[in-house]
Amino acid sequence: MSSRTIALALAAAAGLFAAGGNGTGLSAQARGIAGPGGLQGGGDAARLGTPGQQPQDQADEFAMTAERAAAFALAQRDRLNWVPGEVLVKFKPGVSLARGTRALSALRGPVNPREGRWIGDVLLLPTPGEDNPDLASGILIQQPEVLWAQPNYIRRLHATPTDPGYASQWHLDQINMPAAWDINAGGKGDVLVAVVDSGVTEVTRTSVFQLWTGARFELVPIPYAINPDIAESRFVNGRDFVLYSSGTPVLDMDGHGTHVAGTILQSTNNGTGFAGIAYNAKLLPVKVCAADWDWQIIISSRGIPGFWNEGGSCPDDAILSGIRYAADQGAKVINLSLGGPGESEAELEALRYAVSKGAFVAIAAGNDYLEGNEPGSPARYGRQIEGVMTVGAVGRSMKRAYYSNTSSGTEIAAPGGDSRDGGTAGKVFQYGINEADYDFDSVVKPRFDRYTTVSLQGTSMAAPHVAGVAALLYSQGVTNPAAIEAAIKKFAKDLGTAGVDDEYGAGLVDARATLRGLGVAR
């Protein structure tokens, strides 16, 4: 990859989109293109609007250029953990733009910091002359002006999508939620929880997008709806850092963010859907992960025929932007159910920034136990920062879920579901977007406006249990993120080896004990 240029990547991506298939089927295996191959560039084909209205040219709202989409496609296909041709750079304090530019000139090819994007004091820089960011950042870090440089890592969501089912939410009983709600009935509306994820749909509307439908492009109306189990009034204006530029609403086209948000704060005792933990808290949806359908809309809107089908991804620049944005908006709890291998200074700094702004962060430990169990990021930073907790998953029997990482500094355990421990009933249940409506393998014209029972499992599902308890604790007056972490650990039910261990950390979160605190003698 190191010798590839972005042009090659684009060509490869174009080939990727054009490759295979006869264009007649709708299944994943049969997907392909029947139209002309190659990049068509520009945004004139993208449409966004509501039914009954004249579709307007909204292409410029997309944050993603065709080139960048192609780079992501390449990364996805080759299972790269970074975006080709991009680095994140932080200069030392006091370095001027001129000196910074000099440092960047050490890279091959033309590099202009003005073409980059600043995220706080971190620069997201395209490196057209060197698309391997490991090499590019390795060169940059040698420069005296540079504090650190790293690839723009791609993180992935830590859930395994599974079958819908109608089993009970055993996971809320497991952390003693019914008794915890007696103490604190869902928290208060002044606690803002940010779900930094695939988004949580914050508007009910139909948008018209140009989509590849197997043989041609069509303007397809796609309906979106707010989760009926989260009142619209509880949404605080979110932000999309992957699909759109600013000013457009957040839309979840994966279902992951919706499920995670549901566990944290879905309405409870309202006769609808399922229960959430901090059901009075406010929700800040921050979209940092693009799902298959996000990518499909991007490439189709750019006139690239074919289906994406490469999976979702969460670039570091969006994660960094999203965490900073959440903290700046006053979020007191941030949930990060995502991660990936390697270290990331950008994520570490973003986490430190969030805690410095008074936000507690819950991070999924990762689902790679059976795939090498390597320590991932940002999970690895939980133990480094008081106020950031890395959460492993347990199943119904309070045993570590088969997938839950143990080597990434797990600090606490929470129910994440385990299909090997009770089958579908052993997963985590929430009211979510009806998966059959947008199943990428079988649907060409998706819809995201129907909600039903969704069961998922993963450390992605465990982290929001901790985030929800943190939100309740915050509403009870424990406002220091480090104190929230200390309380959750202190009152955890010890599992596994006595004391702190790599499987369960301090143990299983116990919401009731945590919210109840201590008297003098007991």
Binding site: A179, A486, G519, V520, A521
Partner: protein
């Protein structure tokens, strides 16, 4: 200095002389004191049997005497009186002295009081009420939960004093209550979780000590004993084993001053120190603060009723 000593000696001698003055005792009622040593002379006064009069002279069957109270001098027929030896200690027996108010009757005799030991104090049972301000040893724990490291305790009990010399025994029951809320403590910061807690202390003390008289109305005392502290901690949203109701045993030492306000009423100002080890510190914030002692130092005011 020498002059003072001499003066004291002289006074003592004079007192001794007075005390040793020879007297007669009247042995018939209505014995007349006459102005002259003759039965025809004027009667100055009549004396009842038992009255004592100072001899100031003798004259053929008559004594010249002086009434030690009225200082009236006259003559009394020798056959109507008995001469008393100079060191006589006979108590005066002169009820019914005419013309004298009762309060003066005791002055009939001028002999010094007999040199007996002061009366032995009798054992007595008393009841008391006690108000104490207690500063608890587990100060950080109680401050975190209740906002204060002190409590006001009301109590009552009984004392038995003068059991043997200054020895006394006592028993008391107290009661004190605090309210607060459950907390979480992190790096010295206390986070109030808003869950109400009620803590009650019901100590039962049994002990004793020694009283030292400092004056007729003031005693000092020092003592100690055993305290059985019934400690209860109850909070909202408690489960089966979440509340605490246990009796812990400790020791106390006390001391103070006792002032007699009236024959049956005394007030005590007392200092008390109680140690109840290993009652706390197993869980709760007391474990965080590593505080194990449920006792404390107290100042108390006691109103005691009884002799």
């Amino acid at each position: 200095m020498t002059k003072k000593i001499v003066l004291v000696v002289v006074l003592l001698l004079a007192f001794a002389a007075t005390a040793a003055a020879q007297q007669v005792r009247v042995n018939h009622n209505r014995t007349p004191l006459r102005a002259e040593p003759t039965s025809a002379s004027l009667v100055l006064e009549f004396y009842q049997a038992g009255s004592a009069l100072d001899i100031i002279g003798r004259q053929e069957g008559w004594y010249k005497v002086r009434d030690p109270k009225t200082k009236v001098e006259g003559f009394i027929l020798a056959s109507l009186v008995d001469e008393l030896p100079p060191s006589s200690t006979s108590p005066p027996r002169a009820p019914g002295q005419p013309g004298l108010p009762p309060s003066l009757r005791t002055r009939t005799g001028t002999q010094p009081k007999p040199a007996t030991a002061p009366p032995k104090p009798k054992a007595a049972i008393r009841a008391f009420a006690d108000v104490s301000s207690v500063w608890m040893t587990a100060a950080e724990s109680f401050t975190a939960v209740t906002g204060s490291d002190s409590r006001l305790q009301y109590g009552g009990g009984v004392q038995a004093v003068n059991l043997w010399k200054g020895l006394y025994a006592e028993a008391m029951v107290g009661y004190s209550s605090l309210t607060g809320s459950r907390v979480f403590v992190y790096q010295g910061t206390v986070y109030d979780l808003g869950i109400p807690v009620t803590i009650t202390f019901t100590p039962i003390d049994a002990g004793g000590g020694w009283r030292f008289p400092l004056s007729k109305t003031l005693h000092a005392y020092i003592g100690g004993g055993v305290e059985f502290m019934n400690y209860k901690e109850e909070s909202d949203f408690a489960g089966a084993d979440d509340d605490v109701s246990e009796v812990f045993t400790g020791l106390y030492a006390s001391g103070g001053l006792e002032v007699k306000l009236a024959k049956w009423l005394h007030v005590r100002a007392e200092g008390r120190y109680t140690r109840i080890p290993d009652a706390l510190g197993g869980a709760g914030v007391s474990a965080d603060f590593n505080e194990t002692d449920l006792g404390g130092a107290a100042v108390a005011v006691r109103l005691v009723v009884g002799k």
